[in-house]
């Protein structure tokens, strides 16, 4: 696909002006890194604050007659408890197929005071699939509105809260707990903000009209300690945080139990089911999955990339790496992958086959770098 065929986010000109190295990602021409480079951008985000353009992601609103009716509909597609999602709260879940495989993973936010409105954020590469699924299943009394004209900008890192609070002192942004969401006003711009992200750091994701995105981004970038961060560092940050990347760690052949996302299926749903693949998932919950997503720490310095075979010490293949690389904050290689459950216990020694050599590694619990979420 030529560069002309790629979509551009509302911040495309800003990235070019900042000297970004651009490359295609999920059909968009996206900044992979800026002149500082992936390593410096990664470390900056952990120490100060990083601004990420994630406008390629899909945003949509669904509306229904009331929350219970709308939640009942969404619960036919995903295994999270949406009914008990309180106003002003956000939840992570997955759209599932009939085999319990993951069609996409997403965030669902219920705006404060909303009784019959939810906001969704889905993966860029899956938004067409997700919107088609929603449109096909949507009951007549409900409405799906893709927010195609909305930008999404993440501000992540220990200085994210003070930065936004400085610009909007009376909006209560600093005291928002992790996974809360609400509309707010920052420097005369109307935004929808959630305290969440994809780095393991404290931070926010801000949705706002495309026409105002560059003004907002430039204002944030002018604040002390804020630097632009590309998708390269976004990937190494989420890997260290043990967060899954759709199309790599999750796909239609993986279910949430083997993906170690059981925490995202609340008890009411585990008991009552009623979502696609509920039977297979109940079976996996009762008997344990055949394979499990685990964290892997190579003993040496060689990174094990996606697709690396994982073998038992006696030589049999027991799994495969789905995300792997060097963790700049860990200062060592880190990886995630699926292994047979008999080899999934913490501390188990496995071998990674890198360029024909068997390199020793250990199964460890993710995250590789501690989360710094603001719990209030």
């Amino acid at each position: 696909m030529g560069a002309d065929a790629l979509f551009k986010t509302p911040l495309h000109a800003l990235h070019a002006g900042l000297g970004a190295h651009m490359a295609p990602f999920a059909g968009y021409d996206m900044p992979i890194n800026y002149p500082a480079g992936v390593l410096a951008e990664h470390l900056h985000t952990r120490k100060e604050a990083g601004l990420f353009d994630v406008s390629h992601m899909g945003q949509a609103e669904i509306a229904g007659p009331d929350h219970a009716t709308l939640a009942a509909f969404l619960e036919t597609l995903c295994p999270a408890d949406i009914l008990n999602l309180a106003p002003g709260r956000q939840r992570y879940t997955q759209f599932l197929n009939e085999r319990g495989g993951i069609i996409d993973d997403l965030m669902v936010a219920r705006p404060p005071r909303a009784d019959g409105a939810l906001r969704l954020v889905v993966n860029a590469a899956r938004k067409a699939v997700d919107l088609a699924l929603l449109a096909e299943r949507l009951p007549a009394a409900m409405r799906l509105t893709p927010l195609a004209d909305a930008a999404l900008i993440a501000l992540q890192g220990p200085r994210a809260a003070e930065t936004l609070a400085r610009l909007a002192p009376s909006e209560g942004i600093e005291t928002m707990p992790f996974m809360s969401a609400k509309p707010a006003r920052i420097a005369d711009l109307e935004i929808f903000i959630s305290r969440s992200g994809y780095t393991g750091e404290d931070g926010y994701e801000v949705s706002l009209p495309a026409a105002q995105a560059e003004t907002f981004a430039r204002l944030i970038l002018s604040q002390p300690g804020v630097a632009p961060i590309g998708l390269g560092a976004r990937d190494s940050l989420r890997l260290e945080a043990g967060l899954c990347l759709y199309g790599h760690d999750l796909d239609e052949t993986t279910d949430p139990i083997e993906a170690a996302l059981t925490w995202s299926i609340q008890k009411r749903r585990r008991v009552a089911g009623g979502f696609p693949g509920a039977g297979r998932i109940a079976h996996a919950l009762a008997n344990g999955p055949a394979r499990l997503r685990v964290g892997i720490r190579p003993d040496g310095r060689a990174p094990a990339r996606e697709g690396t075979d994982i073998v038992a010490p006696e030589g049999a293949k027991i799994g495969v790496v789905t995300s792997g690389g060097f963790g700049p904050s860990v200062g060592a290689p880190v990886a995630m992958g699926y292994v047979e459950r008999s080899h999934a216990d913490i501390g188990t020694t496995v071998n990674l086959v890198v360029r024909g050599k068997r390199l020793p590694a250990r199964i460890v619990p993710p995250p590789f770098y501690p989360h710094h979420y603001y719990r209030g």
Binding site: N33, V38, L39, G232, A302, P303
Partner: protein, 125 residues
Amino acid sequence: MAEIRYTKDHEYIRVEGDEGVVGISDYAQKQLGDVVFAEPPPVGRKLNAGEAAAVVESVKAASDVFAPVSGEVVAVNSEVESSPGIINEDALGRGWLFRIKLANRDDLSALMDEAAYADYLKTLD
């Protein structure tokens, strides 16, 4: 004065007598970004020109380093294994990867000199 030659894959070899010091060019280290891992070949390994000899990896990706000439590895830079970032800081100096004893000096004639390599870089976007 030691002569330096480059490959189209951006390896360099600095010829010193019947041996050469091999690494990746400054252009290559810039393209790769922050190097976080480097694995030179073992001493004693016999390489054919064009054969994958070493590996350098950035945060994002792994790249093979190909032998610019045929010969035997006579020394490796252990400093790049412990501090791979020196490849970014000084690719042509402290960031060298290995030393090779040339099997055939004629191999050098297939490589570009400094001026030809500079012209070649201009042809790449």
